[in-house]
């Protein structure tokens, strides 16, 4: 099976690559370009650990072929901060509210939250829980994750909540 050329912008850098059509986006991110902040969780589309933003929308990168991302732009957890000391407010909120236990689901939770708050800057608790229904935390740390999203909403909307 022939390889297909793709050109994908990841966290602001454009990568030209040749992939087998069957290569999953998450595997290309991790193995071809070393973006290992994006993790593989369930491998069945359920857990959301591998969530990235594809042209600004949250997607499960285990459920997208790398060839499908050709010409598009991806944000991973490693591209969210503006620099070492300039975290994204959602990252700050997860740290401040301890929105993680083992941390494995965190990259996906954070990116799903960025997408959620982009669509709905001041979600209710129910809207947060529904908005993150595609992301599972097997430590069951949901309570602090919801608090983190609420705090991120405050940070991003200047306390409008």
């Amino acid at each position: 099976m022939s390889h297909i050329p793709i050109s994908v912008t990841v966290d602001g850098t454009t990568y030209d690559s040749e992939v087998e059509p069957r290569t999953l986006l998450v595997h290309w991110l991790r193995e071809d370009i070393g973006r290992v902040g994006t993790v593989v969780g369930c491998d069945t589309s359920s857990c959301g650990a591998c969530t990235v933003l594809l042209d600004g929308q949250s997607v499960k990168s285990c459920s997208v072929l790398a060839v499908q991302a050709d010409g598009q732009s991806i944000t991973t957890i490693q591209g969210l901060a503006e620099g070492e000391d300039n975290w994204h407010p959602v990252q700050t909120a997860f740290k401040e509210c301890h929105g993680l236990q083992c941390g494995y689901c965190t990259p996906g939770m954070v990116l799903a939250t960025v997408d959620l708050l982009g669509e709905n800057p001041t979600p209710t608790e129910a809207e947060i829980r529904e908005g993150l229904e595609g992301n599972l935390c097997r430590c069951t740390g949901y309570h602090n994750i919801v608090k983190s999203v609420q705090y991120a909403s405050d940070l991003m909307s200047g306390g409008a909540r």
């Binding site: 059509p21 999953l24 997607v59 959620l116 595609g134």
Partner: protein, 285 residues
């Protein structure tokens, strides 16, 4: 797991996709949003020789007002469907049911056409298409033809589309004035599949139900139209009692199965209870 090796064709038009499908033969697979296909590939439940990506075919995109109906490109994502003003105004039952499909990330990729063509008995949208008398436009090497929802779903994961045909658009007749709607879904986990689902649209005139449309999810190999319930509700009093009585016949014509989520008789119980709830909510009772 990693899918088996396959060739990849990125179609740029419907004609292009059909040609690739004909050339690919029986082991070709059409990719739209891929949210059902990718898990199937990863689990190696399918081993296509070629995957034909239709996600960039512009003819399969877009939502247009066609007078008495709304025409939705098969490649329209669930996220676009549930947020589209035309759909929310003219066929809100579809928007409401779509909002219950999977989770936000999957709704960003998954498509209406893909969900219908995949014909999963636990999928929410086939029952809605059936209840709303949607019509599918499919294109094959012989040209285009229309398939009413009532003739589309033939068995588990099986439709009346030929192997070399592609679903291009879905025409959903508009609900006129006086219609209410509701999609009731029973699931064990937040983003889980429907154990049973009920799509209801009810046209009410003061104290009377003029007519009702009811479609059932996961009560057989495909979606089921609850015709006995619809007949019982025609010109019925818009009361909780008459809705409850009509809902007792929700299992007529169903063929519920037992699996690890629910036994058949439990599904039948759910169908009756949830039909009552869905119709009552749709009728504003």
């Amino acid at each position: 797991m990693i899918p088996v090796s396959f060739d990849y064709v990125r179609a740029t038009s419907v004609a292009d996709a059909v040609a690739a499908l004909v050339a690919g033969g029986e082991d070709a697979k059409v990719l739209a949003g891929g949210q059902s296909l990718m898990p199937v590939l990863r689990l190696r439940m399918a081993a296509p020789t070629v995957v034909i990506d239709c996600s960039r075919v512009t003819e399969m995109q877009g939502i247009t007002d066609a007078g008495d109906s709304v025409v939705i490109g098969a490649g329209t994502t669930h996220h676009e469907v549930m947020n589209n003003p035309l759909i929310n105004e003219h066929t809100p039952l579809l928007a409401m049911a779509t909002a219950t499909v999977a989770d936000p990330a999957i709704r960003h990729r998954g498509t209406l056409g893909g969900a219908l063509a995949h014909a999963d008995p636990a999928g929410d949208l086939p029952a809605v298409a059936l209840a709303l008398d949607a019509v599918m436009t499919v294109v094959g090497p012989q040209g285009s033809r229309d398939i009413p929802a009532a003739e589309l779903f033939t068995d588990y994961f099986t439709t009346s589309m030929a192997e070399d045909e592609i679903l291009v658009s879905i025409r959903v007749p508009k609900l006129g004035p006086g219609w209410g709607y509701h999609y009731e879904k029973f699931q064990r986990t937040a983003q889980g599949w429907a154990i049973v689902g009920v799509a209801a649209a009810v046209q009410r005139n003061n104290g009377t139900i003029n007519q009702a449309r009811v479609g059932l999810t996961n009560m057989g190999p495909g979606p089921v139209r609850a015709s006995s319930v619809e007949q019982a509700l025609t010109n019925a009093a818009a009361t909780a009692e008459s809705v409850a009585a009509a809902a007792q016949s929700a299992t007529d014509g169903t063929r519920a199965t037992s699996d690890l989520h629910a036994a058949a008789d439990y599904r039948e119980h759910l169908a009756r209870v949830m039909t009552e709830r869905a119709v009552a909510k749709a009728a504003g009772i």
